[in-house]
């Protein structure tokens, strides 16, 4: 299969250089003025023809719509800002679909280096809620570089693995793990355990998709897990507290209610009180009355579960599964290893974040501060998820293998 979008480009009537060789056309596509044209004339027909891309797009747009409704319950003011976030996010998505992903791929290491620099810089930024995760930009926008780092990491691993289709040897795994450890280490230093946790998980998903020996992967995982308890003393006190309070939940001490488990307990109350069919507006009133403080961020799932009950919560879960299934389908129908591994990486990154978040709000695992993709309130996060979705769509529309 050929790997160039040039081959199937058709000259537009507006293009004065229609009769020129494809190479020239390609060069012109880098001109930003013609990106929209190119999208309109060449990508749209393809997008329309790609049913799975619509499934993907549909699921995330539905999630965004639900997000607006849920954030409005928490705070109407935030909901208005969230509308802007989603608007910007959609522009980011379109921009991410426009250039062919492999051209973007060329800059992937540079992108990674840039995000690493940002991660270093954010350590010097003033602390918010006790950790250095955000840049406070003028206009009150909080920018979280780790969101970008996740994408950069996935892309760079995919970019590396594209040349090494058979990652059968253990030595081939060294570079991917190094690529993981760099951003993950920095994120751990800024004490964002939840986000850092996503990196190895996404890496594993990508290595599995790339065809690494499961034996090796399991062995590495076992070694890492056996070393992990040794890392316990390195954790911050509040992180230790979270883990401890998780295990002593059946016998709650005062520690239970000191912030970390308090939120989780409240979230359980909110979800449980939703019942089968949800409490509708009354549930919304409860949340506003202080049942769930900070409900628009990490615990947005509880808001939905209160209002729409078990059925609504199950619906959300199904939407995410559909989203992930679509990602895997796109990956499955992409021959190009870079595209395939990137789609798997981005998809599983988002999916794992979702699973961890829901497990956290339902009280299965300790509270790790990560948001629910597409649903939680947040500007840089929405933009990053839209960027990831755009890249997945990019692969979907460009590199389809005939089934």
């Amino acid at each position: 299969m050929t790997d160039s979008p040039k081959t199937d480009s058709s000259p537009t009537p507006l293009n004065p250089d229609a009769l020129r060789p494809a190479r020239v056309i390609h060069r012109r596509t880098n001109d930003s003025s013609s990106i929209v044209l190119r999208l309109w004339n060449r990508l749209l027909p393809r997008l329309l023809g790609t049913r799975i891309a619509w499934v993907l797009l549909g699921s995330i747009l539905l999630l965004c719509a639900i997000s607006l409704a849920a954030v409005r319950v928490s705070s109407p003011t935030l909901a208005r800002v969230q509308e802007i976030h989603i608007g910007i996010g959609l522009i980011v998505l379109v921009l991410a679909v426009a250039p062919a992903y492999r051209h973007i791929g060329r800059y992937t290491y540079a992108f990674l280096a840039f995000t690493l620099l940002l991660l270093l810089a954010v350590l010097k930024a003033p602390a918010v809620n006790g950790s250095h995760r955000w840049f406070i930009l003028p206009g009150g926008i909080n920018f979280q570089p780790s969101e970008l780092a996740k994408i950069a990491f996935v892309m760079s691993v995919a970019w590396y693995l594209r040349l090494h289709k058979d990652v059968q040897g253990l030595s081939r795994l060294v570079v991917p793990f190094l690529l993981m450890l760099l951003p993950m280490g920095l994120i751990l230093i800024e004490s964002d355990l939840g986000t850092a946790l996503l990196f190895p998980l996404a890496l594993y998903a990508m290595l599995v998709a790339a065809g690494a020996r499961l034996r090796h992967l399991v062995a590495i995982a076992l070694i890492a897990l056996s070393v992990a308890p040794g890392c316990y003393p390195l954790l911050k006190p509040y992180q230790k507290q979270r883990i401890i309070s998780m295990f002593v939940e059946s016998k709650p001490t005062s520690g239970e209610l000191h912030g970390n488990l308090y939120q989780q307990r409240q979230s359980e109350i909110a979800e449980g009180s939703g019942g089968l069919a949800g409490q509708g507006l009354r549930g919304a009133a409860q949340i506003r009355n202080g049942l769930l403080p900070e409900s628009a961020n990490d615990f947005i799932f509880a808001v939905i579960a209160t209002q729409w009950g078990f059925l609504g919560a199950l619906g959300i879960l199904i939407l995410y599964v559909v989203f992930f299934g679509a990602c895997l389908e796109i990956a499955g129908s992409t021959a190009d290893p870079f595209g395939r591994i990137m789609v798997v990486g981005l998809g599983s990154m988002l999916m794992m974040q979702t699973m961890i978040n829901i497990a956290m709000t339902t009280g299965i695992i300790p509270v790790v501060g990560i948001t629910l993709p597409f649903l939680s309130y947040g500007g840089s996060a929405i933009a990053a998820y839209m960027l990831a979705t755009g890249l997945i769509l990019n692969v979907a529309v460009r590199n389809r293998r005939a089934l």
Partner: protein, 697 residues
């Protein structure tokens, strides 16, 4: 469907199926957990969530009044102005200060930009003013600063109490939360929860710092409201005692709730379920820190009747605040006393008037107590204890009152026991007649002293004069000690003590006031030598020796005798139930001799109380009881050795309706010192229509 098959087909070739299966498995776990939370345990979680959509509004109520037998108010709640402080201001809440600062700047008609520019400075100013508030309150209300700070602390405790209540509603399900956590940790939890959504309505209300401020102070604080942010004058009520010092020790007063009462009977909110307010009366009647409770007297004894029940309204927090359930506050019951406060007031006035020489002898006021009991119902008409004090100034004067060696706080009618002296003689005679030790006509020699050859012990009060042989009536008339030494000796200690006990001496009457003392009687069979027992029997024959009684006990014993051996519990609080009367055997036909003797005490030629001769025939008995000196804890003699003057009278003599007992501490001669007080009281009772002016034939 086709799409799904395509997905499967595409992934089967690769390892993506593995990833998808893993994702599905995790999603399934989450779904199961959600099912458990939202379907299986839904009811439990809904219960807990209710506290976030419902809230209680506590409605204050007022304490019951105390009235006398004719409905005159002895204690009641009256409207007043309280100085209150906003809870947020008290804690110098940042948001509150900011809002206050903005309001203040808006009042000055500043532009938005100007407000923003001046906000930090204004905020600082307000914070500084808030810091100075306690000092300002102390200065303008003339209170010590420590007192103001203490009050603020009590307000904080009160809030913690309410918070704990709501806390229990939400998390009380977790049994371990209450059991395991130390109180300090719990407080920390509750404080934390308050910052995280446990927001009390009371936290946005003003709490009283100084109750009942004068109009001048109220006006000052209202006029300078800007200088004192967070201070408000709120209309309220406070306890007023219209009769000031009359029956002060009986009525009693209120105090802030004690820690013990708070622990025993705390205020507890009902469950947050509509319809659950019905069965929680007892808990709503409980105390909150800072509440008032009776301190002593009737206020304390009838606390259960007087204490109000707070009302509760259940509202749904949906912005409309429509009551979902309502329970009206129940004001405390009005407690009716059997006293006639006007009669007591007049009696107190005449006794305290130095011109009447009822209590003032040689320019010195004596301590005294008067009890008037109705014979038929055994209700207390007068219970007077002097010196007394102004109830309305009790808290103000407390340090002075508690240090006063005259013990004005003591209710002498019930909580002070005195040697009875001769006033026991009619009781003793009635019992001796019943037992058969003497006959009404028994003549015994009334010598100057009992034992021949021992003129220094067991003397008659007439010593060295010896009246000679006397019968019972004459012995009572003259109050012959040697006669009753012999009666005591004939009865023996065992029977004598049993007799006195039958009349209710030596044990509390159970009138319901908690200050009551039981007095003292020795056990009927003490482990003592034979001589000592006889010794005691002889001494107790004239009401001396090891026995002490209260004026109420004495009056009560007389009514029991006059009813012919029917002992009844005296009553002062009408609502308190009394046990049925206790009957004891008295030989009724022989009682006429005793009453004849008591009549002659006043009207006989040799009677000891001729002072009581008046239009209405009065019977009675004088008593002049030798009293030991009283020594305080420092070993200092506070009251020197002397004689307590007693008089117990029955009017009218032929058909007694009332028994009056009066004691003047260290008064000396019973007839001359206690008699006039009883006479004065009888005259007042005649004026008020309790007694006729002259005997009815």
């Amino acid at each position: 469907m086709v799409g799904f098959l395509q997905v499967l087909a595409a992934m089967l070739k690769r390892r993506l199926i593995l990833l998808f299966t893993l994702a599905l498995a995790v999603a399934l776990i989450l779904a199961v957990r959600l099912y458990q939370l939202q379907v299986v345990q839904a009811r439990m979680w809904k219960d807990r969530a209710r506290s976030f959509s419902y809230r209680h509004l506590v409605i204050p109520s007022i304490r019951g009044a105390i009235v006398d037998r004719q409905g005159r108010f002895l204690a009641l709640e009256q409207p007043c102005n309280n100085l209150a402080i906003d809870y947020q201001a008290m804690n110098r809440d940042y948001v509150w200060i900011t809002r206050q600062a903005i309001d203040e700047l808006k009042d000055d008609h500043l532009t938005r930009a100007q407000i923003i520019a001046r906000l930090p400075a204004t905020r600082k100013q307000i914070a500084a003013r808030l810091r100075r508030l306690p000092i300002a309150i102390a200065r303008h209300c003339h209170l010590p600063l420590a007192k103001v700070l203490e009050t603020l602390d009590i307000i904080r405790k009160r809030m913690a109490f309410l918070r704990q209540d709501i806390w229990t509603l939400r998390y009380g399900h977790d049994k371990n939360v209450r059991a395991d956590v130390s109180p300090a940790d719990r407080q920390q939890d509750v404080d934390l929860a308050l910052t995280q959504g446990l927001n009390l309505l009371e936290a946005h209300e003003a709490h009283t710092v100084v109750p009942d401020i004068s109009d001048k102070v109220a006006f000052y604080f209202q006029k300078h409201s800007r200088r004192y942010p967070g201070l408000v004058v709120v209309p309220s009520q406070h306890r007023v005692y219209p009769f000031n010092s009359v029956a002060a020790q009986v009525i009693g007063t209120t105090r802030q709730v004690t820690a013990a009462a708070l622990r025993k009977n705390p205020f507890v909110l009902p469950r947050l379920v509509p319809g659950s307010l019905r069965d929680t009366r007892g808990k709503l009647k409980g105390y909150l820190p800072g509440d008032n409770m009776g301190a002593f007297g009737v206020e304390y004894a009838a606390e259960n009747l007087l204490r109000p029940t707070r009302g509760v309204e259940l509202i749904r927090l949906d912005g409309k605040q429509v009551p979902q359930d309502y329970r009206a506050p129940i004001p405390g019951r009005t407690v009716r006393l059997t006293l006639d406060i006007k009669l007591q007031q007049q009696l107190q006035r005449s006794m305290l008037n130095p011109q009447t020489h009822l209590l003032y002898f040689h320019g010195e006021m004596h301590r005294a107590a008067v009890v008037v009991l109705s014979v038929r119902t055994n209700r207390v008409l007068v219970m007077l204890s002097l010196p007394t004090y102004n109830l309305n100034r009790y808290h103000h004067d407390f340090s002075r009152l508690i240090a006063d060696t005259q013990l004005p706080l003591m209710n002498r009618a019930i909580s002070s026991a005195y040697p009875p002296g001769s006033i026991v003689k009619p009781l003793e005679a009635a019992y001796a007649l019943t037992v058969g030790v003497i006959e009404p006509n028994t003549v015994l020699n009334c010598g100057a002293y009992l034992l021949p050859g021992h003129p220094n012990i067991f003397r008659n009060w007439t010593y060295p004069v010896a009246p000679g042989p006397l019968n019972l009536v004459a012995a009572l008339e003259q109050s012959c000690d040697t006669y009753f030494y012999q009666v005591g000796m004939k009865l023996g200690l065992k029977r004598l003590v049993e007799g006195y006990r039958a009349f209710g001496l030596g044990s509390a009457t159970g009138i319901g006031l908690h200050e009551e003392t039981s007095g003292y009687l020795p056990p009927a069979q003490p482990h003592r030598s034979q001589f000592r027992i006889t010794d005691w029997a002889i001494m107790m024959g004239i009401g001396q020796g090891p026995m002490a009684v209260t004026p109420l006990q004495m009056a009560n014993a007389y009514t029991a005798m006059l009813r012919g051996g029917v002992w009844m519990q005296p009553q002062i609080i009408e609502q308190l139930h009394r046990p049925p009367p206790r009957l004891f055997h008295l030989n009724r036909p022989d009682l006429s001799a005793v009453r004849r003797g008591m009549y002659l005490v006043v009207h006989g030629p040799n009677g000891t109380a001729p002072v009581l001769r008046m239009g209405l025939p009065v019977a009675g008995k004088t008593g002049t009881a030798q009293t030991a000196e009283r020594i305080d804890i420092d070993g200092k003699v506070t009251i020197k050795k002397g004689d307590d003057a007693w008089f117990v009278g029955c009017v009218p003599a032929n058909q007694p309706k009332y028994v009056l007992a009066a004691i003047v501490e260290m008064g000396g001669d019973g007839g001359r010192r206690a008699g006039p007080i009883v006479k004065n009281c009888i005259q007042l009772m005649q004026q008020r229509g309790y007694l006729p002016q002259a005997a009815t034939p």
